[in-house]
Symmetry: C2
Subunit: 180 residues, 2 copies
DNA sequence: TGTAACATGTAACGAGTTACATGATTGA
DNA sequence: TCAATCATGTAACTCGTTACATGTTACA
């Protein structure tokens, strides 16, 4: 149920890698936001291999250090990853899935994005209502008033929502063009 | 170390509540983003009471249902919460802290916000560099190319960063005015 | 001489999730 | 009659974090 195994599949879908490589990528890559630790990494990799979603491509051993095990994603792995990308989920998970969106047909992606957009628009409407009721009930909120902080957090929620909607629009336009 | 206890203190800083009340608020409030389950709620409340950060204000018992325990934050609790709000942390934690920003002196808040803003600006510069190097290396990215997805995720990171910076600016202007 | 990089892995712990248990009352 | 609401709490489990263990080579 956790995203960890899909994160590993997401990386392996692009190129064969060892566990160590994956950790390095997660450290350095600015375009991929995820942190993993050894305790999750290696057992999860073993489980993926058991399930036939990845396979050992190379086993580079040098005498003085542990063998470097390079894994490769299988066809079943690609299918599994594709299915996951199409599944609904929270915004955070959705963003993670976008990293593997290149595997999915553009038409399907567009419909997913349009649904996400709708979801955010509904949330935005709720925020708007809340903010309005704040302003009505309290004409002036000084910075030591609890509702000042509530308004601040609400403002952030509102801005984030708008930001997400705009991003969805940009993505849809990119996909309709077919390239960037 | 976890935020859970501070979340409970954040709610109690505004008004005395029972554990059940807190859960209800987290469900319904649009201005507060946090989910808690009974297994964390009740033991954490007990621990807060042990530590003298909250105290029992009322113990409303009706024969046919469990006693309703209404808690009240103590002076020590307020101090503890205030200290937490001033501490540095991740953006997510920072947002949580903003819900109790009304407890903190505006000058201190402004300096915290300015630091957060700087942090985001540095991140944004990194994103900008990455995006530029993408564009240079690949003139055209079709939607089935892995780097198309990388660019999509990067674009989101960039937009979020800008959104955060703009929000910081808005907050600073609110605080300098002293009210909204 | 010490520490960072390489490369795998385990152990112990803390945090979080789902599900369950109680039990009268209110409303569909 | 069935489910939901009120209100507390426990049990079992998964997930994630920090720290440790191995052992050579390269570099400051």
């Amino acid at each position: 149920m956790s995203s960890t195994k899909f994160v590993l599949l997401s990386l392996l879908a692009r190129e064969p890698l060892s566990g160590y490589d994956m950790k390095q990528q997660m450290k350095s890559r600015v375009d991929f936001f995820y942190k993993i630790n050894n305790n999750q990494l290696y057992p999860t990799l073993s489980k993926l291999e058991e399930d036939g979603l990845v396979e050992l491509q190379a086993y580079e051993r040098e005498s003085y250090r542990p063998a470097r095990k390079v894994y490769k994603i299988t066809d079943a792995g690609i299918e599994c990853l594709k299915d996951w990308v199409k599944e609904p989920g929270s915004w955070e998970e959705f963003l993670l899935k976008q990293y593997s969106s290149w595997l999915v047909e553009p038409e399907i992606l567009i419909s997913i994005l349009e649904e996400k957009k709708l979801e955010q628009e509904q949330l935005l409407a709720e925020f708007k209502g809340k903010t309005a009721s704040f302003r009505e009930q309290n004409e002036r909120l000084t910075s030591d008033h609890p509702l000042f902080s509530s308004a601040a957090v609400l403002e952030m929620g509102y801005r984030f929502g708008r930001c997400r909607i705009e991003w969805c629009d940009t993505m849809i336009s990119w996909l309709k063009k077919g390239e960037i």
